[in-house]
Subunit: 308 residues, 2 copies
């Protein structure tokens, strides 16, 4: 799957992932009205609104990008009905040929991590049969519990040819509270980065490993260091756009081959129609606004990469 | 809810939580056969088997204990159908008067953590209405992302009078890989413990805080240090029983008042019927085996506490 992701990045010329992190306040009135008209102002209605909204965006941008990253929390908040919308979104994106990165940030110990890995990336056995639970291609994983929390994911990845992105240095303002703590002279995120490189060695695709990393666009200097520590890890870079990262900030995350990083934007794309810059599209054409925002993001990154 | 938990611990004399972490291999044949007979060897069949198995255990032990801790991964691996069994289990345990600790180990940034908090501990707004998604009383939270990943949970806890247990030092063998790293002369878990104490100050129940901590029974010396660092935090202690912790190992986790800790056992209780010690019950009476295992666990801890 990491090879497929890299191929698709090359083919589209877009090291870009669209974060499908729907909030009801982003969803245009006409979609909400239709969904609530059909199902009432219920969890089911919310699930339907989210799904229709996502579908519009996916249809509008799927030829431009290699991958999407649905944030499961935004669905999970609506309980089972929200998670049904998550599953429909994952399935639909895969139908459209997109690589699906489940932003699930799971992580536990031994058999529990294995259960998450099986449910999201693998197949679970029931008697003589086996089933896919959520069926994403990649998942994000929290490393706080150490190797025996991460390795069960890697085992499933090797079996299923799927991948993970391990949280190394997250994009949020207080990420440094623990991640930047100097341990034996080096910040913790570097120690986590070393482990990512080590875990990744045993699960290599043709040029990049099945084991990638999450490093926030908001910390480009740390990105440069981590790029060197984990040369074979694809870096998933959140924090571009709405969180403040710019095209120029992204350069340290890429390798010399112009690959090795994939940049996420969520709100900046999916709620583009609410920005002044794209207001001309209006709520009816929200998906076209998203398409234009994707084009602008691709150009911004391409210019920055050309200019280095 | 922390006050309710403490009251129930006092009333039952049992600082004990039963981990409802079902695996199909723990479930007696007669339950599996009935569920698969009705729904086939499907995800739905697995969900039904899990639910019936849980119900039997809950009915057998609910008068002895204050709380249960379903591990969501064990349900999530079966996709939506598994999560339906999780919801049924949560609802049923609450009906039975048990405090429900959702072992979800979620944690993300800002609005995303808020979505998890709302979905699991609060109510999500849909138009003019609000709904409970999963409805647990407590949730476990991963601190790797720092304060802005944890505080949204605390905000929801304050509003709903619910609580969290933050992962500080986990019970697994490789937990030390990152958690024990010496940062500015102190292991990382102590820094996390300091934060737990600080976060907890703003969300106090009558004697204990809404903000608790997870510290593994497998690390009693670290438990003693963390007990001092977080005097007002209830410590959720996994790792007793199947993972190797004994009654004596638990003493450092308790305060002088005999409170302040709640000890989890999962496999040791729910799969007791598969142990030689409880083999006399047989698969038909698996729930009675669980009841006996709970009694033995309560006695083991009480003896240890008396003997100090």
């Amino acid at each position: 799957m990491i090879d497929k992701l890299m191929e698709k990045i090359k083919k589209t010329g877009a090291p870009v992932v669209v974060g499908l992190d729907p909030m009801l306040k982003y969803i245009p009135g006409q979609i909400q009205e239709k969904a609530f008209g059909e199902y009432g102002e219920t969890l089911e209605g919310a699930g339907e609104a989210i799904w229709q909204y996502n579908k519009g965006i996916v249809d509008a941008v799927c030829d431009l990008i290699p991958a999407v990253k649905p944030q499961i929390a935004m669905y999970e908040q609506f309980g089972i009905e929200g998670l049904k919308a998550y599953c429909r979104t994952v399935d639909y994106c895969k139908e459209k040929g997109l690589v699906v990165i489940g932003d699930i940030k799971r992580g536990d110990i031994g058999s529990t991590s294995e259960a998450y890995a099986v449910g999201h990336l693998g197949r679970v056995r029931v008697g003589g049969s086996s089933f896919s639970g959520f069926g994403e291609d990649f998942a994000t994983v929290n490393p706080y519990l150490g190797s025996d929390g991460v390795k069960p994911f890697i085992e499933v990845c090797k079996k299923e040819k799927k991948g993970i992105f391990v949280l190394v240095k997250t994009s949020n303002p207080s990420s440094g509270e623990f991640q930047d703590r100097l341990a034996d002279g080096r910040p913790l995120y570097e120690w986590v980065g070393e482990k990512v490189a080590q875990w990744g060695e045993e699960a290599m695709g043709s040029a990049y490993s099945y084991v990638g990393a999450v490093v926030g666009a908001t910390y480009p200097e740390m990105g440069a260091v981590l790029r060197r520590i984990m040369p074979r890890a694809c870096i998933l870079v959140p924090g571009y756009g709405a969180q403040g990262g710019t095209g120029r900030d992204l350069l340290p995350f890429f390798n010399e081959d112009g690959l090795g990083a994939i940049v996420n934007s969520s709100r900046g794309i999916i709620a583009a129609w609410q920005q002044e810059k794209y207001a001309r599209f209006g709520p009816e054409c929200y998906a076209d606004a998203s398409r234009q925002a994707v084009r602008d993001m691709i150009n911004d990154i391409a210019s920055a990469l050309e200019g280095r």
